[in-house]
């Protein structure tokens, strides 16, 4: 079986509703069996793909997001943002964005953020006269901040696969996350400017102080995560466990931590992670097929023949990844493509941290688009609206997001300056 047939079989299985992990495993096993490899190679490779220390951050950070959600931390962030911005025109929209920013420092996955925001804020915004499309689009696109702002599960995966420092990738993601926030805020500003009924209300001092006190504990999470990593107390993977432990401490302090919350969060974490981890194992197996077919070399030769400009290379890559991202989720693409792309990126002299941030933002934009868009699914299911309606709401928000992506692509220092300053 050659590469073309392999890719055709894989695509056919994916389109014919075979679950992604199993489509990847089935086509790869078929490849190995027909090429005379021994049975056992596939399952060993899947096990190896999962049996990796940095991947431990995946279940742990998902647990952090889930438990934070159950402990009511999102609503504390929301209350605080609301008390801070009462006088601003269109304040609820900024509150939505602000809550996303707050949550993004705690959570490494967009889903917990998207779930929390669309549950609380979308109905609230619709009640106050915002359109459903705007409210859901803002919640969905704002939730991407969770995967760009550290901690971030895709960043952990990229760093582990590319064998680069997770700390450097985290540091490199901070400015891009701020730019994304600005981009989304500008769109919000334009949208609310001319609409009636978006006027703010009076500032309430006591309410602001109460909300501030209630949110201090949660706002301390990024200090612990980033401070611990940069201060040399624990590694990024270990930071995930520390953050989880801190959430439990917060829950105990807030008196919202019950045995039921604990068990429920663990169970949700298991259901969410095991699906991802099996895909990651399958991605490792698929990586074996691509390695044996020397795809990295072939693709590298093709790209170096095409251009010698790193920017054109990255733009070509962006188009490729945006297309892939509409069909596949970020983690398997990262695991399969990073080993292929790293040597090519090195030929073009591209900083791996730069490549990482561009790739992650690119693939995360894909999670906002059909046919496979995890964030769309979550927002749609929680607000009980079809995915297509959510996507129409998301569409205008893609403009600032893609603009930020292009900016990052063309100006690498936006990514590399923070790690350089921190000496990472």
């Amino acid at each position: 079986m050659d590469l073309t047939v392999y890719l055709l079989v894989l695509t056919a299985l994916l389109l014919l509703r075979v679950p992604v992990a199993f489509a990847m495993m089935a086509s790869s096993m078929l490849y190995f069996y027909t090429n005379g490899n021994s049975p056992g190679l596939a399952i060993r490779s899947v096990v190896d793909g999962i049996n990796s220390f940095p991947l431990l951050a995946v279940p742990l950070f998902i647990f952090v997001g889930t438990v934070a959600n159950h402990l009511g931390i999102a609503s504390r962030l929301f209350d605080f943002a609301l008390a801070t911005l009462p006088r601003v025109r269109g304040n609820l929209a900024y509150v939505n964005l602000g809550t996303s920013v707050g949550f993004s420092w705690i959570s490494g996955s967009a889903l917990a953020d998207a779930a929390a925001l669309s549950k609380v804020l979308v109905p609230e915004m619709v009640r106050k006269g915002y359109t459903y499309g705007f409210a859901s689009g803002l919640s969905a696109s704002g939730s991407l901040l969770s995967t760009i702002m550290p901690p971030s599960i895709p960043a952990v995966l990229f760093a582990a696969t590319a064998a680069i420092s997770t700390g450097a990738l985290f540091a490199g993601s901070i400015l891009p996350a701020i730019l994304m926030t600005l981009g989304l805020a500008i769109y919000v500003f334009i949208w609310v400017r001319k609409r009636p009924g978006m006027e703010g209300t009076r500032f309430d001092g006591p309410a602001f102080r109460t909300a501030g006190v209630r949110v201090i504990g949660a706002l301390f999470t990024p200090v612990i995560i980033l401070g611990g990593i940069l201060g040399g107390i624990f590694t990024p993977t270990e930071a995930a466990a520390i953050a989880a432990a801190y959430m439990l401490v917060l829950g105990a302090a807030y008196r919202t931590l019950t045995l039921k919350v604990l068990l429920r969060s663990a169970k949700e974490t298991v259901v969410v992670t095991s699906g991802i981890l099996l895909i990651l194992g399958a991605a490792n197996l698929m990586g074996q097929v691509l390695a044996r077919e020397q795809v990295s070399r072939v693709l590298g030769d093709w790209l170096t023949n095409l251009t010698d400009s790193p920017i054109i290379f990255l733009l070509v890559l962006n188009v490729m990844l945006l297309l892939l991202g509409t069909f596949l989720e970020a983690p398997p693409v990262i695991l399969v493509l990073v080993p292929v792309l790293m040597p090519i990126a090195a030929q073009f002299g591209i900083d791996p941290v730069h490549l990482g941030v561009v790739m992650i933002l690119n693939l995360m934009i894909g999670s906002l688009t059909p046919p496979v868009g995890a964030v769309l699914f979550v927002v749609g299911s929680i607000t009980r609206q079809p995915m297509g309606v959510v996507f129409r709401g998301v569409l205008p928000f893609l403009i600032p997001l893609v603009a930020v992506l292009l900016l990052l692509t063309v100006f690498p220092p936006i990514v590399t300056i923070v790690p350089t300053i921190l000496g990472l």
């Binding site: 021994s38 190679l41 760093a159 590694t235 074996q288 044996r292």
Partner: protein, 329 residues
């Protein structure tokens, strides 16, 4: 090396029966954990590819460096199953499948490379035959990839006392951890993927690796003191699956073994050259300190290690350990 060739010749007795009588076209899959920038790639497997293909007796060689085909233990399982033909493996990884082989990775078991090569050529056949009987894979020879030494952020290591209380990262395999204990180190366990960041953050104050590897993984961006205590002769064992010999004619098997043996000396020179080149850069750079071999109290280290391993090992492994130590100059 003649002795060893005859040793393998005996093994390949059955190969002659099973293998084809004519030279058939055969593609060999050769894998290693080493990246393309290390001597064991460009002065090792790359030469192997060149020579086997140039011989024009049906060989095509495909190289998969940098653990492209999986981590060490997985690749060895693939050699056993016939999915990889030739692999470069450290003894510690092999010891997950065949425990006794771990002994050759013991700290200070070999005095130097010459000692190790002499042992391979004259005294290894029993161990290797047992290994092959147990695992279905042959150890044809071993290529040097550098002496493992300590590199630390700022502590020079001249004697075992200098290691006390120092947080040094060791790989989490039983033999490496025993080595740490033998030298009096309390090892820091950090996953391979997180070594760089752990060093950068000071979670670990040093690590142990051959200079070439320390350099190729950029650990020397953080670690400024290289102490040439040479606690371990780093050898990559050339493991070839029995399945592979079954695919080869006698002429092909012979050429394969000969070529693997033949590269050993050139490869060693290349490794030493590269090591010295890196060390000379350190010596010329005031931000680096090199603790030279003659500044290290090797006798103290060896004695400490011998004392430890003579009680740590027992039975077959103790016998092997002692027989290697007896050969020491």
């Amino acid at each position: 090396a003649t002795l060893l060739i005859t040793g393998c010749g005996q093994d390949s007795g059955d190969t002659a029966d099973e293998g084809p009588t004519e030279n058939e076209d055969v593609t060999l899959t050769v894998a290693t954990s080493q990246p393309e920038t290390t001597p064991n790639y460009y002065c090792g497997v790359e030469l192997l590819k060149e020579r086997l293909e140039d011989a024009d007796i049906g060989f095509t060689v495909e190289l998969y460096p940098a653990s492209q085909l999986g981590p060490d233990t997985e690749r060895f399982a693939a050699v056993q199953a016939g999915d990889i033909d030739i692999d470069l493996q450290g003894a510690s990884a092999l010891s997950a499948t065949y425990e006794p082989i771990g002994v050759v990775d013991a700290a200070y078991v070999f005095d130097d490379v010459d000692h190790a090569f002499e042992w391979i050529d004259t005294a290894s056949s029993e161990l290797f035959e047992d290994f092959s009987a147990e695992t279905g894979a042959r150890i044809v020879d071993g290529w040097f990839f550098g002496n493992r030494t300590f590199t630390t952020t700022d502590t020079p290591i001249e004697s075992p006392d200098d290691l006390e209380g120092l947080a040094i990262r060791f790989p989490d395999s039983p033999q490496f951890l025993a080595n740490a204990e033998a030298m009096g180190v309390t090892p820091v366990t950090v996953a391979n993927e997180e070594i760089y960041v752990a060093l950068q953050q000071g979670i670990a104050e040093g690590q142990e690796n051959p200079i070439v590897a320390t350099h190729s993984q950029s650990f020397d961006e953080i670690l400024k003191v290289a102490s040439l205590n040479n606690h371990q002769v780093g050898i990559h064992w050339l493991v070839v699956g029995e399945n592979t010999y079954d695919k080869l004619s006698d002429e092909q098997s012979e050429l394969l073994d000969e070529t693997l043996h033949g590269i050993r000396a050139e490869n060693r020179e290349c490794v030493e050259e590269e090591t010295n080149k890196i060390l000379d850069e350190y010596r010329a750079d005031s931000s680096y300190t090199v603790v030279e071999e003659d500044e290290v109290d090797r006798a103290a280290f060896t004695e400490k290690a011998e004392e430890f391993f003579s009680t740590y090992y027992d039975g077959e492994r103790l016998e092997l350990y002692e027989s290697i130590r007896e050969m020491a100059g």
